[in-house]
């Protein structure tokens, strides 16, 4: 039987969830035996395969128009979608920005910051994504598995990957359900 394929990508977050994934250490060899790793931020394929992958994993919150595109593309190209980490599960620290007006946040960073020179304005080139109100992944697309934690512990991530690799839907409870 062909190995299940996995793609991952990051939305607005801090890459801490990816670091926690790497903290499975030597067990990465085991994961590479069980699944075929396709597009991820640390491999050079840029997107999930057009004909789909078995598992899609997204970290980070939906924070701009590019995040929205990436989230929808992953959803449409994977069978099981995992929201990994607090940012993806409920918006996390990123969602703290929703307490402020987006324009005020942009102005603070690009116009008012003490170190800015006099000519500053908010970047708006069409090359750039537009920020949007921060949402959890599940508010943007349908999520099949939520894995909370900031970041989730490496052991929890390894458990989730092992279950998915064997075609099971991971159930977090007891030791594997952690909020830290």
């Amino acid at each position: 039987m062909a190995k299940p394929t996995i793609s991952t990508d990051w939305l607005a977050g801090c890459a801490g969830c990816e670091m926690s994934l790497l903290d499975i250490d030597e067990r990465i060899v085991k994961v590479a035996e069980l699944v075929e790793i396709r597009s991820t931020p640390i491999t050079d394929l840029k997107e999930p395969d057009l004909n789909g992958v078995d598992v899609g994993i997204l970290t980070g919150a939906v924070n701009n128009t590019t995040n929205q595109e990436v989230a929808h593309r992953m959803r449409s190209r994977c069978k099981t979608l995992v929201a990994l980490g607090d940012c993806a599960v409920f918006g996390g620290v990123v969602a703290m920005r929703n307490f402020f007006k987006l324009d005020d946040a942009l102005r603070r960073a690009y116009v008012e910051a003490e170190s800015n020179d006099g000519e500053s304005k908010v970047p708006s080139s069409p090359e750039l994504a537009r920020p949007v109100e921060v949402r959890a992944l599940g508010e943007e697309v349908k999520v099949d598995v939520n894995v909370p934690g900031c970041p989730p512990d490496a052991d929890v991530i390894f458990y989730v990957l092992s279950e998915l690799a064997q075609g099971r839907k991971p159930v977090l409870k007891g030791d594997t359900l952690q909020w830290q």
């Binding site: 939305l11 607005a12 977050g13 801090c14 890459a15 801490g16 969830c17 990816e18 670091m19 926690s20 790497l22 903290d23 250490d25 030597e26 990465i28 060899v29 590479a32 991820t40 931020p41 640390i42 491999t43 050079d44 394929l45 840029k46 997107e47 395969d49 057009l50 924070n63 701009n64 590019t66 995040n67 996390g92 620290v93 990123v94 920005r97 307490f99 402020f100 005020d104 946040a105 942009l106 603070r108 960073a109 690009y110 910051a113 003490e114 170190s115 800015n116 020179d117 500053s120 304005k121 908010v122 970047p123 080139s125 090359e127 750039l128 994504a129 920020p131 900031c150 970041p151 490496a154």
Partner: protein, 475 residues
């Protein structure tokens, strides 16, 4: 044929979201290439109104690769806000944690992110040009690399309870002392970590010798250099004075971090969410400089630990005594620093104060404003807070490591695109070289886009009317 634009998106094997656009002239030669950092999160704004002591927990969420740098820069700023200098053992323990992070971050970058280009080749199949491909090609080496990163992460966990987003530093000190068994546990892993770092140094020296031509034409350009040093001018990663040298290596400025606004300003370009810091007196872009491993070794006069200093002397000779301008030597500089961090870990663990329980100063004389600084793996990191009479944050200003290298990364992308690409001749391996130019700086785009941000790479080909005629992605 009209002019074209090539887009690489996302740039992979870097941290965060970026894209590169390469604009081509009618004849297919490169007109200009840009690195766009494509995300903004807004930490400066949403920290307003929080209590100052929450910031050492919130700020690390800027970046999960160097959370310790943000945690410590934030705590150092808070030390000053409460007016409590940490006792010596607390400073030693904080530095120990920071060295653990340097080892894990630098080690991961060399072997797991840049390694596939260097060890498998820029033109290797993109489907396997990654850490899994490395595990298949050389499992023994890959496992050593995993163990090196783990060694650094375990130090962080030993002190702060977890590997990512630890909780350890508090205003005025740290919240946990080191136990003898924990110290011995770290010491036991030191030898293997040294051997793996040495192996990396042999690999990069061998690679740069065999690829001399590439090294000499791959994004080599002059700039200023910036980093912390000890008062005697030695390499310093935890605390020191800011030093800025010009392209010839002449000292331009030496100043305490608290005065950063007198020397550094930031420029904004419409096409990137990442700002461009520069030396104020020279203006932008003349005053642009580089930070991180290459910048730090270029500003330092010596290294105070023997093994790293021996390599440092070789490094200093690479460009005839002038600052080293070669982007690809970032990798060598990064490993010399890893060696230094490991030597520091040994010195710190053997310090008689390291097991002391005098770890926090609880005295308080509140101040309203403070600046904290640290050398994060990718460069100098400034945190600047102002609080009100209730201890609530009024203003936050941040200059993050990768930001200082924004101009340089753009120069590197432009330079590599000009050297290797013409419209008649674009293939995946060449585009990968453009990405490798970004990768050498080990950018941390999460850090960079704390304001709002993300960074992948994509190549669009646009005609002279601005219409995209082709988009190259590697899938």
């Amino acid at each position: 044929m009209g002019t074209k634009k090539i887009t690489i998106e996302p740039v992979t094997r870097i941290e965060g979201h970026a894209k590169v656009t390469i604009h081509l002239k009618e004849d297919g030669d490169v007109e200009r290439a840009y690195l766009h950092i494509n995300e903004f999160r807004g930490f400066e704004k949403f920290c307003e109104g929080r209590m100052y002591f929450e910031l050492p927990s919130i700020m690390p969420r800027i970046c999960g690769i160097c959370p310790v740098s943000h945690h410590l820069a934030s705590a150092k700023t808070c030390d000053q806000l409460v007016g409590a200098e940490p006792p010596r053992p607390a400073s030693l323990l904080r530095e120990l944690m920071h060295m653990g992070q340097i080892v894990q971050s630098h080690g991961m970058h060399f072997f797991e992110l840049a390694g596939p280009d260097l060890l498998l080749g820029f033109d290797a199949n993109p489907a396997t040009r990654n850490v899994v491909g490395l595990i298949q090609a050389n499992p023994a080496l890959a496992l050593k690399a995993v163990a090196l990163r783990k060694f650094g992460q375990e130090i962080i966990k030993t002190l702060g309870g977890r590997k990512v987003h630890p909780s350890f530093a508090v205003p005025g000190g740290v919240n946990k002392a080191l136990r003898p068994a924990e110290r011995d546990g770290i010491l036991a892993g030191l030898k293997d970590a040294m051997l793996t770092t040495r192996l990396g140094i042999d690999l990069i020296k061998d690679w740069t010798t065999r690829n001399r031509q590439d090294v000499e034409r791959f994004a080599v350009f002059p700039s200023g250099y910036f980093g912390l040093t000890t008062p005697q001018g030695s390499l310093e990663l935890y605390q020191g004075e800011c030093r800025l040298v010009d392209r010839q290596g002449n000292l331009l400025e030496q100043f305490p971090a608290s005065r950063y606004l007198d020397y550094i300003a930031e420029h904004v370009e419409d096409w990137s969410y990442l700002k461009f810091p520069y030396y104020k007196k020279m203006g932008f872009p003349q005053g642009a400089y580089r930070v991180g491993p290459l910048g730090r070794l270029n500003v330092a006069d010596q290294i105070d630990t023997p093994e790293a200093h021996a390599e440092f002397k070789i490094f200093k000779g690479l460009n005839g005594g002038r600052p080293v301008e070669h982007t690809l030597y970032y990798h060598y500089a990064r490993l010399i620093e890893t060696l230094f961090a490991l030597e520091r870990i040994e010195i710190l663990l053997n310090d008689p104060d390291i097991l002391s329980t005098d770890i926090v100063n609880t005295k308080k004389t509140m101040q309203r404003e403070a600046v904290g600084v640290i050398e994060a793996p990718r460069g100098t990191l400034f945190h600047h807070y102002r609080i009100n009479e209730n201890g609530q944050v009024e203003k936050v200003n941040l200059i993050v490591s990768t930001g200082h290298n924004n101009w340089a990364m753009n120069m590197a992308v432009d330079s590599v695109a000009r050297t290797y690409i013409s419209g008649q001749r674009v293939h995946e391996g060449l585009l990968n070289r453009v990405e490798a130019a970004v990768r050498a700086y080990d950018p941390c785009l999460s850090c960079s886009t704390h304001a709002l941000g993300q960074m992948p790479i994509l190549i669009d080909i646009v005609d002279s009317s601005g219409t995209t005629v082709e988009t190259l992605r590697r899938d």
